[in-house]
């Protein structure tokens, strides 16, 4: 009976306009946002290159130097990029505030702001929208050293003062500057990164992690609409009483609806993942790398399935509970909050709904956070099952209360 009901529920979802809007938005987003540049320009590093790319540093001196270099540029232009609620907000300081920021810089570096500005323009030159490899290397190499004896603790205090001047969400918050100072890679580092990419990620896994990063953004929101529209459909079509009075168990009704929606939400995800992986797969063959042909299923399965499950299950639960569109508002807010409260676009999984990995490769960095990632996904997987069970209980109660929301 479950099989027949599952197929009928699939047919119901396939007949709804909401589903096709979901497919269109998802596919358009992925194809327009996800660039294959990351792997199409991939080349084996050779000694003597002027630039091998960049890598995040944990060296406190380099963090201070890199952060101060950024600060010199922002004070110079009096334009600070902040993301207080996740969205970009440019901040311009008043004269007094700008003077205070310059003083903080002088305190950290022991140099006057004028000197710092002259050094910066000499190093970086004029802004070039299409910088050459040499210019990129120069920008990556631009550093502002701290004065002798200036400690990391004093630096932290100075950055707190800057944060007070420019407000929340700037690059001078501890979590941000400790994860955002990049240094140029050496040949050895680039070689090691390339080898890991071939050995651990087998190219396609890295490709799929990047795919999941983009897909996860949309999947934090889009399945809500499918869940809400399915649950509200009985009420909208006045079919509640007829369905409630049937002998079938509430468990079978909800499980078939949930699994049918889940299955159909996953279909475009898997197809798009396979399509994206295809180019990477071809490149792997060209480079003679044995790629992981099933990464489009395994990586997306672990990364995106728990997210889709919890988003859909929660939309079922809230909508069954309230018979309203409340789930849309609550869950969209949750999705946005999860997206914009991340201190970095690579890692920092915590218990965020959207797991970000906005980079191609960095397998070792991922391995160091894999436990946290799996814990995050495992929790959402279990939470989704709990939500489905609660939905069954709520639905069963509604069946014996004339369909009224609880």
């Amino acid at each position: 009976m479950f099989g027949a009901l599952f197929l009928k529920e699939c047919r119901q979802v396939l007949k709804s306009l909401v589903y096709y809007i979901y497919v269109a938005v998802f596919v358009l987003f992925i194809t327009s946002q996800l660039s294959s540049e990351g792997w199409e320009q991939l080349k084996e590093p050779v000694p003597g290159q002027s630039y091998y790319g960049e890598t995040i540093t944990k060296d406190q001196n380099l963090i201070m130097e890199g952060t101060l270099a950024n600060l010199v540029q922002e004070v110079y232009h009096n334009s600070f990029a902040t993301y207080p609620m996740g969205f970009y907000k440019g901040v311009t300081l008043t004269e007094d505030e700008a003077a205070a920021a310059s003083e903080i810089l002088e305190l950290c570096t022991g140099k006057s702001f004028q000197t710092l500005a002259e050094e910066m323009t000499a190093q970086l030159g004029l802004y070039d929208p299409n910088p050459s490899a040499d210019a990129l290397a120069a920008a990556a190499n631009y550093r502002v050293p701290v004065k002798d004896g200036f400690t990391y603790t004093a630096f932290e205090t100075a950055m707190e003062d800057i944060c007070r001047l420019v407000g929340r969400g700037s690059s001078y918050e501890k979590e941000r500057y400790e994860n955002s100072v990049y240094v140029p890679m050496t040949y050895e580092q680039a070689r090691a990164e390339f080898d890991t990419l071939c050995r651990e990620d087998r190219l396609t896994r890295a490709c799929m992690r990047l795919f999941c990063d983009y897909a996860g953004i949309m999947l934090a929101v889009l399945p809500i609409f499918i869940g809400v529209s399915r649950v509200l459909r009985d009420k909208r079509e006045k079919a509640q009483q007829v369905i409630f009075s049937r002998p079938i168990s509430s468990g079978l009704i909800i499980a078939s609806r949930y699994l049918a929606s889940l299955f159909l939400i996953c279909i475009p995800v898997v197809i798009t993942a396979f399509w994206q992986q295809r180019t990477c797969y071809d490149l792997a063959r060209t480079l003679g790398i044995r790629s992981d042909s099933w990464a489009f299923l395994t990586v997306t399965g672990v990364w995106l399935l728990p997210e889709i499950m919890i988003v859909l299950a929660l939309s079922f639960l809230i909508t069954e509970l309230t018979d309203t569109l409340l789930a849309v508002f609550i869950q969209v807010a949750w999705g946005i909050a999860s997206l914009f409260t991340a201190s970095t676009l690579v890692g920092d999984f915590g218990f965020k709904l959207v797991a970000r990995w906005n980079t191609f490769g960095q397998a070792e960095r991922f391995a160091s956070q894999e436990k946290e990632f799996l814990l995050n996904r495992g929790c959402y997987f279990l939470l989704a099952i709990v939500c489905v069970i609660l939905t069954i209980i709520v639905y069963d109660k509604k069946r014996s209360k004339g369909g009224k929301a609880l």
């Binding site: 009976m1 009901l5 006045k238 009075s245 002998p247 009704i253 014996s400």
Partner: protein
């Protein structure tokens, strides 16, 4: 297993409002009519019987099964709600097949029963048509099809003919009578004609209480010898209506023929006529304070 519905001291409250008050009723096999004005508590009673709402007090057994055993009750009852509707984008066949699955029917059984029942309700030709494209009468017939698809012992239909044209109403009544041959069909309505044409046993519900429970001829006997027909001047109509219970008026020019219910002959020239169920129902409703 006995085919009857036993209702004992059934009470249903919605907060402080009492919708059903100590209702006692035994419904045997065949067509049973539940008559009452709007808001009498008929739909509440139907919903208690179909496990859609819980009772506050009392006892209800359907074919010997207490109504608390909702799963069993649901498998032995078919329900056509007052405002029956199904997913508009489904075809008639799909809708019935879907509800058959929800009734626990297997694939093979459905393949035989779905066309058979559609044929029974005269919808086989419309099986590919969308539910949303059906007329009111066709939709009700689909409603009755879904109520009988799993061959329940009891069928509960709530106001099934409201809003139907006369031809469709007659067709629907006949359909219900056919179905009632070997099971209980509980027909709830405020349209007296439906009961008169189909039911032998009836109960009258008003303000949550049973005012009458018995056979149609017993209901008629209440008003026997109290229904008169007379011709009066049309200008006198208002005065007559204020003094007597008028159940029918036929105006022709300046004269009007009126049907009056009265304990004594209202006019010397008034003729005694055979009462119908509507007369009896009207009489009962007017006398409810004494009868209930």
């Amino acid at each position: 297993m006995e085919t009857s519905i036993e209702i004992l001291d059934l009470t249903k409250n919605y907060g402080k409002k009492q919708a059903l008050s100590k209702v006692n009723l035994t419904i045997p096999r065949g067509m049973f009519g539940l008559l009452g004005p709007n808001g009498a508590g008929k739909t509440t009673l139907m919903k208690v019987l179909t496990t859609l709402i819980p009772k506050t007090a009392g006892e209800v057994k359907i074919c010997g099964v207490p109504v608390e055993e909702s799963r069993k009750i649901r498998s032995m009852t078919g329900y056509l709600p007052q405002d029956f509707s199904m997913y508009g984008n489904m075809s008639v066949y799909e809708a019935l097949d879907y509800l058959a699955v929800l009734s626990g029917m297997g694939k093979t059984e459905r393949k035989i029963k779905v066309p058979e029942v559609l044929d029974q309700v005269n919808l086989l030709e419309k099986k590919r048509g969308k539910v949303r494209s059906l007329s009111g009468g066709m939709k009700r017939r689909l409603g009755i099809a879904q109520a009988i698809i799993h061959q329940p012992e009891v069928i509960i239909v709530d106001e099934p003919t409201a809003g139907l044209d006369p031809e469709e109403r007659v067709r629907f009544r006949n359909l219900l009578c056919e179905i009632a041959k070997d099971r209980i069909v509980l027909l709830s309505t405020h349209i007296v004609g439906d009961i008169e044409a189909t039911c032998e046993n009836i109960a009258v519900l008003d303000q949550g209480k049973i005012c009458f429970n018995g056979k149609v001829k017993e209901l008629l006997s209440i008003v026997e010898g109290k229904v008169y027909s007379t011709e009066i001047a049309a200008s006198e109509l208002e005065r007559v209506k204020q003094k007597y219970m008028v159940t029918g008026i036929l105006t022709a020019g300046t004269a009007a023929t009126v049907k009056i219910i009265a304990d004594e002959r209202p006019f010397p020239h008034a003729k005694q006529v055979q009462p119908d169920v509507e007369d009896a129902y009207m009489y009962l409703m007017n006398k409810k304070n004494i009868a209930c």
